[in-house]
């Protein structure tokens, strides 16, 4: 149970992986060290023995037994390190030459290395020996005293074992450290998350300031929280605005109906009152639809229907649609736009945003005035719609895009005060912006949208959204 719970902890897993890696690399290093030192010594001994055997065999074939005995004696006499061991015996196992008293009983197979204790010149020592069979029943034992080497080897083994022990200890400590580091970082995030879940939306994940990966995660989380906070703020604003601004038309409709019910003199009166109340309700529905549409746009879900769109024909269409209205009011509608304005976005939404701007401009423009639609490309696509109406004073310009904002000068014009909010939402959804400027006189609304290339470059790091063509409603 405990083990399973431990393994479910990511901190423990990270620690364990750390310890495992450290131990594995320590073992690999020790093995290499062993192979490079103790192993090398063993291989050297074996090489020396086989070289000896080869040259002694040559002596035998050149000079026979006497030459071999002389050579062995010579070699023993010249052996400075005093580590060579030879023993030559006749077929009856009697010693003929060499520095061993008698043939060790355990050595029976030729060509195999034996490691065995021997007694030589009165001292017990450790030797590696090999047996070689000579013709005519003679046997030769060649070896090396490896007492010193085996001591060295034991020393090395001890050292390596200790080292493994130390490594294991360090791995455990390291694992615990990694785990606590992991925990501390996560605890920071999880504390923030639970504070927010508990209702304190002002909390943000603390940054260590090191700019590391954990900081990056924390920043992403904080950005997300900021966006959620903004959305929640928007929702709060909207619900307040709905409460205030829809009350008026609802009151009007209600009053009309009640008044008609109480005071209508004829069926015609009644019908007229109902008709007007229906119109009021339609107006309220219109406001709701506009609100929902803005909310839909701000939620960003419409990005899935983004596609390449040329804004130039959209401008021409809007100009065509509103041109007649402008002419009717003796307003001069002037359009100046490049032949192509490539953007990436929702065609219908951009269309509506432009239409709203032109609609506004026409609504506030005086007769004989000029309404201009200027489009240009300068890093961004800029669509400026200017009128010569009363404009919006500096102090109110930032509020002009709030939902339900109606300028002082706009009190007597029809409208819900949602037009610019929608334009702003569309601009933000596309990564653009809406600026309101003084047109000397009048208002100049400047809608900026990213160019196609820029929009595409921006969306490549994210998952590619499914590009759907807007479906035309028949």
């Amino acid at each position: 149970m405990l083990v399973r719970r431990l393994f479910r902890s990511a901190g423990f897993r990270f620690g364990a992986v750390y310890a495992l890696l450290l131990t594995a690399s320590a073992i690999a290093l020790a093995s290499f060290l062993w192979w490079a030192t103790a192993g090398l010594l063993d291989r050297q001994t074996e090489a020396a023995i086989s070289a000896d055997a080869q040259s002694l065999a040559e002596r035998w074939s050149e000079g026979g037994l006497p030459a071999l005995i002389v050579t062995i004696d010579d070699r023993l006499a010249q052996n400075v390190d005093d580590d060579a061991i030879y023993l030559l015996v006749d077929p009856r196992m009697n010693r003929l030459a060499g520095n061993l008293a008698g043939w060790p009983a355990s050595i029976s197979v030729p060509g195999v290395s034996y490691e065995l204790p021997i007694s030589r010149a009165g001292t017990r020592t450790l030797a590696t020996v090999q047996r070689y069979d000579l013709p005519r029943g003679f046997h030769l034992l060649i070896g090396r005293d490896v007492q010193v080497r085996s001591q060295l080897r034991r020393l090395l083994t001890d050292a390596l074992l200790w080292a493994v022990g130390v490594v294991l200890l360090m791995a455990t400590i390291g694992a615990l450290l990694v785990r606590s580091l992991f925990r501390r970082t996560l605890a920071n995030i999880s504390a923030t998350a639970s504070a927010i879940a508990g209702g304190d939306f002002a909390q943000r994940v603390r940054l260590s300031g090191r700019g590391d990966e954990f900081d990056q995660v924390a920043e992403v989380i904080n950005d997300m929280l900021d966006r959620i906070a903004r959305l929640m703020d928007g929702v709060r604003q909207v619900s307040n605005a709905i409460a205030h601004d829809l009350r008026t038309p609802i009151t009007r409709a209600r009053t009309r109906l009640e008044d008609a019910a109480l005071h209508a003199q004829s069926a015609d009166d009644l019908r007229a009152a109902i008709e007007r109340a229906t119109q009021d309700l339609d107006g309220i529905v219109g406001v709701f639809q506009a609100l929902l549409r803005i909310a839909e746009i701000e939620a960003g879900s419409r990005r899935s229907s983004f596609a390449r769109v040329d804004i130039a024909p959209l401008l021409a269409e809007v100009a065509d649609l509103y041109g007649a209205v402008a002419e009717d009011q003796d307003i001069n509608l002037v359009v100046a736009a490049p032949a192509v304005l490539p953007a990436y976005g929702d065609r219908a939404m951009i269309q509506q945003a432009i239409a709203n701007l032109v609609d506004n401009a026409l609504k506030f423009s005086p007769a004989d005035g000029v309404v201009t639609i200027d489009a240009s490309v300068d890093g961004m696509i800029t669509i400026a719609v200017g009128d010569q109406g009363p404009g919006i004073p500096d102090s109110e310009r930032t509020r002009a895009t709030d939902r339900f904002y109606r300028g002082e000068t706009a009190r007597n014009t029809p409208g819900s005060g949602l037009g610019l909010s929608l334009v702003l939402a569309v601009a933000h959804l596309h990564g653009g912006d809406l600026r309101l400027e003084d047109n000397h006189p009048g208002l100049r609304a400047v809608l900026t949208l990213p160019l196609l290339e820029e929009a595409e470059a921006r969306r490549t790091p994210q998952a590619q959204p499914e590009v759907a063509q807007p479906v035309a409603v028949p």
Binding site: Q289, L292, R293, R302, V325, A348, Q352, V473, P474
Partner: protein, 227 residues
């Protein structure tokens, strides 16, 4: 027209059924998805008005998809409180011919349903539209009335074409916005009225009788004076 109304809300259904009958149509009504699907699949209708959210385990989209899966091409108008653009797109993708969101004006619903009927019958390419003495040639893009040539802007031509294709039917402002301008929102200014009044200046004013009529609280209708 023989029309099936699949709608679970009693008030809305009663209102729609009564209104359609008053307009001279034969109306059947189903108040849940299962009955709706059964009736739509087994009987022949000129149009189906379909609510999206229905009781009975089968919603409007399911009915529509099933019908289309059976190669049933009956014109379908979805009537729904789901007003988001995505909902609309979903409905049209599922094979509906039109999509109207609640709340709605009955005149709008009636006009759209009657427009569906014409669409089903008008098969084969039409090259010339004629109403009374007004002729619109789709190939040469020329308009004549009483043998007299009328010069129209491209957009005016399309507006007249739309009205003539729906001659004798009420055409609402929204239908014109969608059909002629491909606009799927309601511009606050009465842009359509202005365009129609300009068209009237050219098509009706110089002549003895008017063909384009205003239908109160609904929209416009192009028809012969005596009809």
């Amino acid at each position: 027209m023989r029309i099936l109304v699949v709608e679970d809300d009693k008030d809305v259904a009663g209102f729609v059924v009564r209104g359609l009958r008053e307009a001279g149509h034969v109306v059947e009504h189903a108040d849940n998805g299962r009955d709706g699907l059964f009736m739509a699949a087994s009987e022949s209708f000129d149009a189906v008005i379909l609510d999206r959210m229905l009781p009975g385990g089968i919603d409007g989209l399911k009915i529509l998809e099933t019908l289309r899966g059976q190669k049933n091409t009956v014109p379908v108008l979805i009537l729904s409180a789901l007003a988001e653009v995505d909902d609309r797109v979903k409905g049209l993708k599922a094979g509906s011919d039109d999509y109207l969101t609640k709340p709605f004006a009955f005149a709008e619903l009636l006009a759209r349903v009657e427009a569906l009927n014409r669409r089903g019958k008008g098969e084969g390419p039409v090259t010339k539209l004629v109403v009374e003495d007004l002729e619109l040639d789709l190939l040469s893009r020329q308009v004549k009335r009483a043998g007299q040539k009328i010069d129209l802007q491209p957009r005016e031509f399309r507006l007249l074409e739309y009205l003539m294709r729906h001659a004798g039917q009420v055409v609402t402002r929204t239908m014109l916005l969608e059909g002629v301008w491909d606009y799927h929102f309601d511009p606050q200014t009465n842009v359509i009225d202005v365009h129609v009044s300009r068209l009237r200046q050219k098509v009706d004013k110089p002549f003895a009788s008017s063909l384009i009529h205003t239908v109160r609280n609904a929209g416009y209708m192009l028809r012969a004076e005596h009809a």
